[in-house]
């Protein structure tokens, strides 16, 4: 199959980087300079002691492009580890959204009812507005925002996707918190 005819896949990639100035610019510059897509990118320090940040990127491309993205990320000097969560197995993706909806009358009641269904919390309220806090997968957030938009004027702030693999394996463990349990020594051989 020609590379151009390959199917487009969406992948969620987790990258462990040194938390140093310019590291995000390197990652973003890599994507823009080489023409890769970024659908979502989130970053936050996850290990203050060792100054490590975790970047979660949702990107799309042909399998060849996805492989390229991972190889290109991995050869950046401040990158410690790259994991393709989509490829490596089941994983969890979540976003947080703050949704402000401005409306009056029955629409306010309907908004609250829908928020309840979505398990969104009202964290701010005036007589003509609510701010809802909602977490969940991207599609759930999209659906909620669509419904709110039908009920009034809406302003949205979203975090983008954070993700982690299911199961007991730690792909990128925090080094400092790892407890090293020494195995009990085997009994000394009888002299």
């Amino acid at each position: 199959m020609k590379p151009s005819e390959m199917p487009i896949e969406r992948h969620t990639i987790a990258v462990l980087v040194a938390n140093e100035p310019g590291v995000l610019a390197r990652v973003i510059g890599l994507f823009s300079g080489r023409g890769y897509n970024i659908e979502s990118l989130t970053v936050s320090e996850v290990d203050e002691v060792n100054a490590r940040s975790r970047i979660t990127i949702v990107t799309s491309g042909t399998p060849m492009v996805i492989e390229q993205i991972k190889a290109q990320l991995f050869r950046l000097v401040p990158v410690y580890d790259v994991h393709d969560l989509t490829q490596e197995g089941p994983h969890l993706s979540r976003e947080l959204a703050l949704v402000k909806v401005r409306n009056v009358g029955d629409h306010r009641i309907e908004a609250l009812r829908i928020a309840d269904t979505f398990r969104a919390r009202a964290i701010d309220s005036t007589l003509e507005s609510f701010v809802f806090e909602l977490t969940g997968g991207t599609e759930k957030l999209d659906a909620f925002i669509d419904l709110m938009a039908a009920l009034g004027e809406v302003e949205v702030s979203r975090t983008g996707v954070v993700a982690i693999a299911r199961g007991a394996d730690l792909q990128m463990p925090l080094v400092r918190r790892k407890v090293v349990r020494r195995k009990p020594r085997p009994p000394a051989a009888a002299d």
Binding site: K2, P3, A18, N19, E20, P21, G22, A25, R26, G29, G33, V49, N50, A51, M64, E67, Q68, A71, Q72, F74, R75, L76, V77, P78, V79, Y80
Partner: protein
């Protein structure tokens, strides 16, 4: 930001401190740096003061920062060491950008120190301020802005590690002026450990076994080597040649790989690609197993991808995983150092007692000899006008057996040099392959000559390219560098004109080198020697005199103006659609898809 590793028992209780500038000089010495190419300015004065006081490292004062980087590239490419550059903030750094990009594209290890305004002024649009780390981020392998005195020594050592390990490349260290005055602790290179960048050197054993088995069973194999062989050190070239001989298979090299197998070796089919030989490109197209080592399936090499080597199983050895499966999907990828992997491959070949399939191989060679018999590089020397190919051929013949290094500029002369000058060893050929930087060759030759003072260093140039860094004649004079500029002067930007003929109906828009200076007088004005050959009868004498003159020489070789570079795969065409000469060109038109390609 790295944390101090307080638990290290080897760490002395109180590290010695010295000024930032002194730290830089000490780190350069500890890294074995002998020479720095640079240009001073306000932001780097403390380093220059330290150079003056300690005299620890030799400094070569160039006449333009771009030339400093190219000189360091020439130095690095001809020695295998890291080239070092020192320039000031703002324009010093921005002038270096072309050189840095060139080094990135051709994987040349460079450490470039740039001055910066003091930390408290960064972001204030201060005099000679530029966002150097921002500007150079996409054109370096890595860059640093040193904001804390405590980081300086570590960054210096790490920069050399990053520049020279894995796929080599340029590294910039941006140095605010206050850091150069600040008291900084010194730490030894041995105490600096880079945890995140750990390139894989040894190839995967299983993949290598599969690859060698595939190589052994091949009926129509070809070795395709590139610049990675040169970067992996002379041993890699030896092993490559050994593997080629052990198997008896044909080999071709990219522009960057020339010299990895001797040009005189009868297994060598010549360079491949856009201006490669007929036999090399046809063998690539018809092969059943392709062994690519240290090359990257560049567009100049592959031609139209959809018809690139359609029936071959491909093995790709590269130290940079991102080069694999980038343009061409391969069957057996092997990440590792070219030299190390070749050693592993040879060990497997010997251990398993593999033998090439002689019957198939002799059939394959018969076909190759058929392509070879087309003699794609043949030309008819004219009795009076100098043909550019002939000028380079004569230069090659007259320098054979000498300790000779060749650099080039970019254009037709570059391709003719690659075609008609034979290289029997690695590190003898310096050219701007990936970026195609006009103005590269002359300063690069300067760097080569600094590294090899006794050698014959020749820049095969075009008259247009030579004008792009002609000011370095002044540097040559200052350091008495006997570099030779051998100008193939056709009074055209020849490659531009060739493409205008090919795809723009011969409308020569701005490609004529009008108002050329008298290069002989220019050479003399700068304190060098100028020579000129205008007809065939003068060519040999001028070459002889140029070689014999122990000074900077500019040899202006006036050649046939309308000669074009063949063979050629026009852009958008495939390996089996080569043009052998101008007769072919008239018959075929470039496809519309090809016209938009560069």
């Amino acid at each position: 930001m790295a944390q101090p590793r307080s638990s290290n028992p080897r760490r002395p209780a109180a590290p010695t401190t010295m000024s930032g500038a002194a730290i830089i000089l000490k780190a350069l010495q500890d890294q074995g740096v002998e020479v720095v190419f640079g240009y001073p300015g306000g932001a780097v004065l403390p380093i220059y003061d330290e150079l003056f006081k300690t005299n620890a490292v030799r400094h070569i004062l160039v006449r333009h920062e771009q030339a400093a980087v190219h000189a360091a590239e020439g130095y690095a490419r001809s020695t295998g060491k890291v080239g070092v550059v020192l320039v000031t903030s703002g324009p010093g750094a921005t002038n270096a950008v072309t050189g840095l990009t060139d080094a990135l594209m051709d994987s040349i290890p460079i450490v470039c120190l740039t001055g910066q305004v003091p930390t408290h002024l960064i972001g204030n649009d201060a005099f000679q301020e530029a966002d150097t780390t921002g500007i150079t981020r996409p054109c370096t392998k890595h860059n640093y802005l040193v904001r804390e005195p405590g980081q300086l020594a570590r960054v210096m050592h790490e920069a050399f590690y990053v520049a020279s390990h894995g796929r080599p490349g340029p590294v910039v260290i941006d140095l605010p002026k206050d850091i150069l005055f600040a008291d900084c602790p010194y730490i030894e290179a041995s105490e600096v450990e880079t945890k995140s960048y750990r390139p894989q050197v040894k190839g995967d054993t299983t993949a290598i076994e599969r690859a060698v088995e595939l190589i052994a069973k091949a009926k129509r194999p070809i070795f395709y080597g590139g610049g990675g062989l040169i970067n992996a050190g002379p041993k890699a070239s030896k092993l490559f040649t050994e593997f080629v001989h052990k198997t008896g298979y044909p080999a071709t090299l990219t522009l960057m790989g020339l010299g990895a197998i001797p040009a005189t070796d009868d297994r060598f089919l010549g360079m491949l690609g856009m201006h490669g030989t007929y036999e090399a490109n046809w063998a690539m197209h018809e092969c059943d197993v392709m062994v690519c080592i240290g090359a990257r399936f560049d567009d100049r090499v592959t031609g139209r991808l959809s018809d690139f080597s359609p029936n071959a199983k491909k093995i790709h050895v590269d130290i940079d995983a991102s080069s694999i499966n980038k343009n061409v999907p391969v069957d057996i990828p092997i990440v590792g150092d070219a030299g190390v992997v070749l050693e592993q491959m040879l060990a497997v070949w010997k251990a398993k007692g593999y033998q090439a399939d002689q019957a198939a191989l002799s059939k394959w060679w018969k076909r190759i000899e058929g392509w070879r018999s087309r003699k794609c590089l043949a030309y008819r020397p004219s009795p009076d006008v100098i043909l550019p190919q002939h000028a380079i051929r004569r230069l090659y013949e007259k320098t054979r057996g000498m300790d000779c290094y060749i650099t080039t500029e970019v254009g037709q002369h570059q391709m003719w040099a690659a075609q008609y000058f034979g290289f029997d060893e690695p590190n003898r050929w310096m050219t701007s392959g990936g970026l195609g930087t006009m103005g590269y060759g002359f300063p690069a030759a300067m760097g080569v000559q600094i590294a090899h003072p006794e050698a014959l260093v020749i820049d095969i140039a075009g008259e247009a390219s030579f004008l792009m860094n002609i000011q370095e004649l002044s540097t040559m004079k200052q350091y008495d560098l006997p570099v030779k500029a051998f100008i193939i002067n056709n009074q055209w930007m020849g490659m531009v004109r060739q493409w205008q003929e090919l795809i723009h109906g011969g409308r020569y828009s701005e490609s004529y080198s009008a108002a050329l200076p008298d290069f002989v007088k220019v050479a003399e004005a700068f304190g060098g020697v100028g020579l000129r050959a205008t007809k065939m009868s003068e060519l040999d004498d001028v070459i002889d005199e140029m070689i014999a003159t122990p000074r900077t020489v500019v040899a202006d070789i006036l050649v046939k103006q309308d000669e074009n570079c063949f063979p050629m795969i026009p852009s958008g065409a495939a390996h089996h659609e080569m043009l052998l000469g101008p007769e072919d060109q008239a018959e075929r038109r470039t496809s519309e898809e090809g016209m938009v390609l560069v």
